[in-house]
Symmetry: C2
């Protein structure tokens, strides 16, 4: 049993979709979340920049005495090297491995789609993880760089014609490739789920990395005996690198019933 | 006469629309450009964050021995305080003043529209400048936060239905207010000019802040006797805070016939 908080970070607020699932799944755990809202998005940036930012994010969470690090960010999870993660003083998990495992189990046809940011797709991370599980799998990967700005600017109402048109633009070739399973490889994408589900059709299973991140974190803590005892309701503290007002404006969209909790600004470049 | 380079900066690559106009207008000038591609966009961020980033950008340009600073960024121009600009060791200009002057002259009906990032519209900068020139002017301002991501992700082909739909969403109330002049208050927006012109109609004059920035810079240098002699063709050097590869991929879109020139990465957080 370990009462220290779980550390979760993301390039911005997309990772809050994972926090929502974590709070649902592990209601006794305390959570410290960092969203790098002063430097979001990570997805279009180069590898070196993403690594520099991720290392600072992790150092900040470690300074908060967390018992594990959860990278609730498809871009970081696809970029941060496994050997570096293994050398951290606390256990680390990203979003890729569990999402790939779940997709490999879900697919019947052996055709799986992966969508994510430019950096995620460029890294080939989901492909590598999927091929390691099922070498015969056929993968169609597609970068969807406008999805994060669509979500962050509120183009997420069911039936929004802009979202529908952008989904069609990006996903036409994925649908045409006949996938029966699609990994939504970025923690922002669950917010676009209605538009993506409409376009892909009911026969396609959508794998939500927000949820998969929470599953991965719960599994990691359980295996290592690091879960909290659940004697009291867990709390959540939020840190951001830009003004906390924007967090307040968007948290309901991402956190749903778990919105609320103290938010503080930090100078992430000093970590 | 002054042979030192002109320093130009922007949150990212939108300011290159101003560089293109500067090179056309002042072909004998050398230019040093900094695009903060590691932290773009500035428009959705809070005032403190924008100021911190702008000060670092300016310190970098000063370290390059520039003869003036041109903020080719609607967001910075709307946020950076005039008194701080006046205290810089070289002359400074942004995009707001000249664009407002041009709009005040162009409007016949006295109804002017202003579009820009969230930070630009929140600042009220264009309104203040317009009202100082013509107190009776009626202004309709609208933040268009998806325009920068649309441009940066290539949704700029004439007739692109996504661009048309987003333009309609943001500009419907601006058109309905009966403006005859519209300030495109962000240096990315000239790339969306065809879609904006189509929607607003031929009767509306569009003021391009990329061009206005170049006009402002040329005027400032001329007044102070700081122009180069033009004996040889000017050069341009580019600096970015993310990988230079992305610059290479996008520069033709922004610079047109002036694409090319050395690009180097710098660590802007150290300035």
């Amino acid at each position: 049993m370990d009462r220290r908080p779980i550390g979760v970070f993301d390039s911005g607020l997309g990772g809050l979709t994972a926090v929502r699932q974590l709070r649902r799944m592990l209601p006794g755990e305390d959570i410290v979340y960092f969203g790098d809202t002063g430097r979001v998005p990570y997805g279009p940036r180069g590898r070196d920049t993403i690594l520099q930012y991720a290392r600072q994010d992790i150092r900040f969470l470690l300074s908060q005495g967390v018992k594990c690090i959860v990278a609730a960010c498809g871009t970081v999870s696809s970029t941060y090297p496994a050997e570096e993660a293994a050398a951290l003083p606390v256990p680390y998990t990203g979003v890729v491995g569990t999402a790939a495992r779940c997709a490999a189990e879900a697919t019947k046809s052996g055709r799986v789609g992966v969508i994510g940011t430019a950096a995620t797709v460029r890294s080939g991370s989901y492909e590598k993880a999927l091929r390691a599980l099922r070498p015969d799998i056929a993968i169609t990967a597609k970068a969807c760089p406008l999805f994060v700005p669509l979500v962050e600017n509120g183009f997420i109402e069911p039936g929004d014609p802009v979202a529908a048109l952008v989904v069609e633009r990006y996903l036409a070739e994925v649908r045409a490739s006949g996938v029966d399973t699609l990994i939504l490889g970025c923690t922002h994408y669950p917010l676009l789920r209605p538009a993506i589900a409409d376009f892909m059709g009911a026969g396609v299973t959508l794998i939500d990395v927000g949820q998969m991140t929470a599953v991965a974190a719960a599994g990691m803590l359980g295996e290592r005996g690091l879960l909290n005892d659940g004697a009291r309701a867990g709390t959540a503290r939020y840190y951001v690198s830009d003004t906390p007002e924007d967090f307040a404006a968007l948290e309901t969209m991402f956190l749903g019933e778990y919105a609320g909790g103290p938010v503080e600004r930090i100078a992430i470049e000093t970590y």
